[in-house]
């Protein structure tokens, strides 16, 4: 049961990153790729009908975490308190930045909300990456399973890390460029003309940076957390995961060059999924490792809810996911194809 729920929660996190990842990527890129008001509107319209549904993965995943692993939910959310609150504020800003922009035809209003959308997307990516890095690095857990980290201390690892230190900042920057890449590949599918060309050349440039920083991040993880590769060494078959990660990036580069936008985007999805799966494999069966005392690790066993709760959850979860998949298929199909500016929303 613990094994199943560990991977179900991981799956929901992967879904969130793949779907909301390109919303965030578009947000990061739009000041750079958009050269006109039309460009801006096209970029917003490419995510307009889907961003809210994409964001729901975060809520569904968070709720699932709450009932399946309540100790992890409680410990991690209160321990990373300030970072989490900032993420919540950024999500508010991102949503508002997207949705309120078109309400007034005043250029200052639009520029303001574009700025909000950009900054919120940028910081969200960094915080998400740093969050994952924190989970890999571990936190100073107490005997009661709780901890509390300030946002930063001296940026070094050691006995008093903050949420942000040099390793987690690497994680944040990597997430930033990886999601920017993801967003650019999505735009290549959804746009045409000059805007599409700019997105494609951005994708080509960023993909190199992602490849390089990924290569740096893997040994950095082992440096920051000595036993990060332990599961892999115990079952060498698992090394297929980093292999897929690198192959996926190569795929992005190759398919972008060949102008096969769909395959390039799929490779980006695979890259993101396997980066997360790779972290999950490294952690298993821990959910949140202790930075100084392995006996205090929050493991699946310690955090798992009671058996009846989990059985009940399994019953409705699968059904719910089928429904969700149906909705997603309906919406993405209805709004498929290149974004155009015909009609101006509600018009007036």
């Amino acid at each position: 049961m613990g094994f199943i729920w560990f991977w179900l929660v991981a799956l929901m996190i992967v879904a969130y990153v793949i779907f909301d990842g390109f919303d965030i990527g578009v947000g990061i890129l739009h000041p750079f790729l958009a050269r006109s008001e039309q460009d801006r509107q096209i970029m917003l319209r490419s995510i307009g009908p889907v961003w809210d549904g994409n964001e729901v993965w975060l809520l569904a995943g968070g709720g699932t975490l709450y009932f399946a692993f309540p100790l992890l939910y409680a410990s991690a959310f209160s321990g990373f308190y300030l970072a989490l609150m900032i993420v919540l504020w950024l999500l508010i800003m991102r949503g508002v930045g997207i949705e309120l922009r078109m309400h007034l035809e005043i250029s200052v209003w639009r520029a303001f909300f574009d700025g909000v959308f950009f900054i919120a997307s940028l910081l969200l990516a960094i915080f998400y990456g740093a969050a994952l890095a924190n989970v890999i690095r571990g936190v100073p857990l107490g005997d009661d399973g709780y901890f509390f980290l300030p946002l930063w201390t001296d940026w070094r690892l050691g006995s008093h890390p903050g949420i942000l230190d040099w390793y987690t900042v690497i994680g944040g920057v990597l997430a930033l460029i990886a999601l920017a890449l993801h967003g650019s590949l999505y735009l290549v599918i959804k746009t045409e003309g000059e805007l599409q060309k700019r997105a494609a050349s951005a994708a080509r440039a960023i993909s190199i940076a992602v490849l390089l920083l990924t290569l740096v991040s893997l040994p950095a993880s082992v440096f920051a957390r000595a036993d990060a590769a332990a599961n892999y060494r115990a079952m060498p078959l698992l090394f297929v995961v980093p292999a897929v990660i690198l192959l996926a990036l190569v795929g992005v580069i190759v398919f972008s060059r060949k102008e096969d936008s769909r395959k390039a985007f799929i490779c980006s999805c695979v890259y993101l999924a396997f980066m997360l799966v790779g972290a999950a494999v490294a952690l298993y069966p821990r959910l949140l490792p202790s930075s100084d005392n392995p006996s205090r690790d929050i493991t699946i066993e310690k955090a798992l809810s009671g058996p009846h709760t989990l059985r009940v959850g399994l019953a409705w979860w699968g059904f719910g996911m089928c429904l969700a998949a149906t909705y997603f298929i309906i919406v993405y199909r209805m709004f498929r194809g290149k974004v155009t500016l015909e009609g101006s929303g509600y018009g007036h």
Partner: protein, 451 residues
């Protein structure tokens, strides 16, 4: 300020602000389905324009509801970690179900409703409006069931490590407290939706702009308003009150200001509870009514606060008393207003009776106050428990998140929400000013709430 108090204010502030929006979302979602149904059956374009108009207001309202709602799901973990860790196995489920079942549903079909009109058949477009209504009301259901378990825990057992788990899924979702609470809460949301719709309708008629649409808004708003206002008092309010008296007698005593038990207890209409003297200052009371309302018998004994140890009294007690009285007082006014308006509507005189249109236009903030007061009654009445009778509020908050951090984030939310309020008012006002006639059908997707 202590950590406990700050965490309580943190949650109270964010949830109070958040709920201002879903109540309108849920109320309007129903009324938009009514408008779309009328449009289909009467083949009258005015109804479609009305639905589009309210859809635009709905979209702005829904957005703010979404962005202020996300912090709520995570706040159980950030500020109430002890509570979350202990009870997550039970209430984490309805919360997760809300995400998996309601939110995906709402977000998918809202996009289709706002932008799919040209691409969908009229029936399919009606269906997307219906699914948004279903999603939002389902969302309400799961949240109410979460709160209902905290008010009246059922279908649980405590594991050896002190953690709670659910013993019956259906038991959890059919908690009788929750079913009553759901009916009362949703009726309250329809009240908000109807009053807002009436207000805009009355405004248009008083201004003599968009009279055709104004009349539609008033017809729908007054009928829905009358039904929901009456239902709010009887049967939902009455049932809720009697259930509360049975299962949370200390809360009942506190909210009625009944310091000492009494046979033939009277109901205090107004007054100020004085905790020092344990009496009501300046009371206006009607004898025997409370006993009758709760037990159907004017000589029944109603338990006063003297029956409960001091550390089980809900607090802050005066706030509970006032919240309840404000809610009930406003509820009474709502019934009176809607009865008068419905009578005039029936006689075909509402649209030209200006002295009735004015209160209809001005009363729209009051359901927001009443709904908020009602929730304060529920949540303060539950004190000092976070799970009634089982876990005290003081045992639930995040021990390692100090008051400084909590105050910092509280101030952050207050600032951000002030900005959101201004944006909301400006944008909704603009939509109302523009009116329903300029509602051209959306051809292509723009961000959900775009002009």
């Amino acid at each position: 300020m202590t950590a406990l108090l700050l965490h309580r204010i943190h949650f109270a502030f964010t949830i109070t602000y958040h709920y201002l929006f879903p109540q309108l979302t849920m109320g309007l979602a129903l009324l938009i389905v009514v408008l779309k149904t009328a449009a289909l059956r009467r083949n009258d374009e005015h109804y479609n324009q009305a639905a589009r108009f309210w859809g635009r207001i709905f979209a702005v309202n829904f957005l703010i509801g979404v962005v202020t709602g996300i912090p709520m799901e995570f706040q159980f973990g950030t500020n109430w970690a002890q509570f979350a860790r202990t009870t997550g196995g039970v209430i984490g489920q309805p919360l997760a179900m809300e995400g998996v079942f309601s939110f995906f549903l709402e977000s998918a079909f809202l996009g289709l409703f706002l932008f799919g009109e040209k691409r969908l058949s009229p029936l399919a477009h009606w269906f997307s409006a219906f699914m948004v209504f279903l999603g939002s009301w389902l969302s309400g259901f799961f949240i109410i069931m979460t709160n209902a378990w905290m008010q009246h825990p059922v279908a649980y057992k405590v594991l050896p490590n002190g953690v709670y788990e659910v013993t019956s899924f259906w038991g959890l979702l059919t908690n009788p407290w929750g079913l009553i609470q759901y009916a009362h809460n949703m009726s309250g949301a329809v009240i908000t939706g109807s009053f807002v719709m009436c207000a805009v309708g009355a405004f248009y008629l008083l201004e003599n702009r968009f009279p055709e649409h104004g009349r539609i808004f008033l017809r729908v708003g007054v009928v829905a308003g009358l039904i929901s206002c009456v239902a709010q008092v009887f049967p939902t309010g009455d049932l809720h009150g009697r259930y509360l008296a049975r299962h949370q007698p200390a809360a009942m005593a506190a909210m009625e200001g009944l310091f000492s038990s009494q046979r033939g207890a009277g109901i205090v209409l107004i007054g100020q509870p004085n905790e020092e003297t344990q009496t009501i200052d300046n009371p206006l009371a009607v004898n025997k009514v409370l006993s009758f309302l709760i037990y159907g018998n004017t000589e029944a004994e109603v338990k006063g606060l003297d029956q409960f140890p001091r550390d089980q009294w809900p607090e802050p007690l005066p706030l509970l008393f006032y919240a309840y009285h404000i809610m009930a007082g406003l509820g009474t006014y709502f019934v009176l207003l809607m009865v008068v308006a419905a009578f005039l509507l029936w006689r075909g005189r509402l649209f030209t009776t200006r002295w009735a249109l004015w209160p209809l236009m001005l009363s729209f903030p009051l359901p927001y106050i009443a709904n908020t007061a009602g929730w304060m009654t529920a949540e303060i009445g539950r004190q000092p428990w976070v799970v009634y009778g089982l876990i005290r509020t003081s045992e639930g908050y995040s021990r390692y998140v100090g008051p400084g951090n909590s105050l910092f984030t509280l101030l952050g939310f207050m600032g951000m929400y002030t900005v959101l309020s201004i944006l909301f008012i400006v944008l909704v006002y603009r939509i109302i000013q523009k009116g329903p006639e300029s509602m051209v059908v959306a051809l292509a997707p723009a961000p959900m709430s775009a002009v």
